[in-house]
Every structure is written in structure tokens, then in C-alpha cells.
Amino acid sequence: MEENNESPFMKYLRKDRLPNIFCAGCGNGIVLNTFFNGMEMAEVDFDSIAMASGIGCSSRIPGYVKCDSLHTTHGRPISFATGLKLGNPDLNVVVFTGDGDAAAIGGNHLIHGARRNIDMTVICINNSIYGMTGGQISPTSPQGSYGSTAPYGVFERPFDLAELVTAAGATYVARWTTAHALQLTNAIKKGLNNKGFSFIEVISQCPTYFGRKNKLRTPIDMMRWMKDSGVNKLKADQMSAEELEGKIVVGEFANEPQPEFSNELYNLIEEKYGQKSQAAKSAYRED
């Protein structure tokens, strides 16, 4: 168990796999800590957590955690997580994903998970780039930023993920940055406590690719930029598009309960067949 000289989060981690594979100063490790902190604040039992992730640096997070997890195919963690939740609705299902994983190849799964309001907490680490494959631009790369596939700067318009997922029907949505670790912790706590689709977007730093290609040389430069450009949603709603140029809108985007998919489905089965679903937890039975 926790030794006296270890990080308070070490008890949740597969210590034999540390140090983690992430580059020095990468935001992924901060998001991992805030998850444990939020989980403790939400009073969610660690043993009830099952994680799913896709492919990417960010998607490697569950591999470090001492819980059941599925490391799935690129863009599909929400689909696998849907199966997990329907197979055992008692699980607290958590998805770790990146902007490439969730918004490019996995964009359709993301919006339909939100539309269904299936109970899971999706933590999307948005570093505005494909880290794992060498710095290609993603659907969230800001206009004018550079990547290996945008040597003259991005001219496409980026997705605003928190707004997109809110519009798609998620019942808890928040956006923070790795420079707002306490607020992020609180959002993760609320997301875990929401019975429905919760989406936490974390603007994060990839110093190795985004930083290097965009003249933000160190993780500290990137985190200062995030801290300085954060504007709370409540304030941002009163500001013009020009005033919001270059800002990161942080805060809560949605927080309103709605009927939840696994509940609705199980209720329907009980109503039509007069018994609890045989599919529930079938994987745990011997027969």
C-alpha cells in the first residue's frame, strides 16, 4: 500500500510501469492525478471503476491504473464503454481519450454517446495535435497554429468540443486546462456524480509537438499561456467574438439531468418481459 514517501496517488497506480512513458511536462500525468482527486471527492469506490481508451498518448492513461480497463481501437472507446455499461450497469465507466481519438476518427461515437445520455464520464485530453504519431493537426488545432501537416499554419476552423458535445445532448459538460488543476478536479467530481453522459474537456500541453512547432518552448510556457487565456464561461457569454479571440473559455457548459440510456433500456426490458434483463452481468455468471 501507500508508503510514507510516495505520491498520494501511487496507491491507484501500477507502480512497476512507472515512470510513465509521457514526455517531461506532458499534461497527461496531471489529468491522471486530478482524476483520482475528483474520484475521492465524489466518494466513488475505486473498485467500481472500469476504464476504456482508444489510441494516442492520452489513451495510454488507463494502462497505468490498477483497475479493469480496455485499451481499444482508435476512436472507439465510447462504443466499448457503452458495451461495458450495458453489460454491467453497476460499473462507473470512465473513458480517457484525446482530441484526435474523440473528435476526428471517433467523432460520430462521441456525439451519439452524448445524444443517448449513456452514463459514463469521458475525459478528453485536448492538446490540439496528434501527439503519438508525430504532430499532425487535429480537428481542434487552433487556426494559425502549426503542425507537421500544416507547415503554413492551419486554415480550417476548429471544433469547439465542449459546445459540440453540449449541443449533442450530454448532461454534464465542462472545460478546464491542466493549469486549473483544482477546478478540473471539481469538474471530474461532478462528472462522476452525474448519472448520464459527462464530458470533461481538458486543454493540455504537448510540449514535444505542439509546443515545439508553435514557439511555446517549455511546458511552463504552455501552461502560462493556458492560465492567462482562460476566461470563465459566465464572463465569456457577455463578450464579443473579437474580445474572445485567442481566449480559452473554461467552466461549465451543461449540467442538467435527463433520462439515462442504460436505465431506460433496463426499464423497458422489465416492462416488456416482466423480469430483469438476463443480459445484465451475464459475463459474471458461471452458466
Binding site: 514517501n5 496517488f9 501511487m10 512507472l18 515512470p19 510513465n20 511536462g25 499534461g27 511546458p219
Partner: protein, 68 residues
């Protein structure tokens, strides 16, 4: 007491930057791997807020609760 695991630290300086009490100082001499491990020089100013442990991406920091 602040304990910093030199085998986990990658020298990113996030703790040095974000500690509200400026407890850490970046080391002037790199270790064998070329990593500058921060030194908690001003421990007497530490309020045990635990922000550094929360923000260390490599789980290298432990802040002891009690004062000696």
C-alpha cells in the same frame, strides 16, 4: 517535509512554477541523466496545500501532513 522521488522526476519544473509559496528552486546542476531536479529550498513556507503533488505529471512528490 516534502519528498521528491528522483527516479520519477523528469525535471519539467511545473512544481517550481505553480507552488504559490515559491518553495521549490530549480537545481543548478543536472543529475546523471541530465535532469534538473527541483529542490524544496523554502520548506518553512510550505502550507501543505498539496498543489505540487496534484500537478506533478510524474507522481514524484509527497507532502507530509504533519509538521515536525
Amino acid at each position: 517535509m516534502i519528498k521528491l522521488d528522483p527516479n520519477l522526476c523528469k525535471g519539467c519544473s511545473i512544481c517550481t512554477e505553480f507552488c504559490p509559496k515559491n518553495v521549490y528552486e530549480n537545481s543548478k546542476t543536472p543529475d546523471k541523466r541530465g535532469i534538473r531536479i527541483p529542490v524544496p529550498k523554502n520548506q518553512d513556507k510550505c502550507t501543505q496545500c498539496n498543489l505540487c503533488a496534484l500537478m506533478c505529471p510524474d507522481q514524484a512528490i509527497k507532502v507530509d501532513e504533519e509538521d515536525e
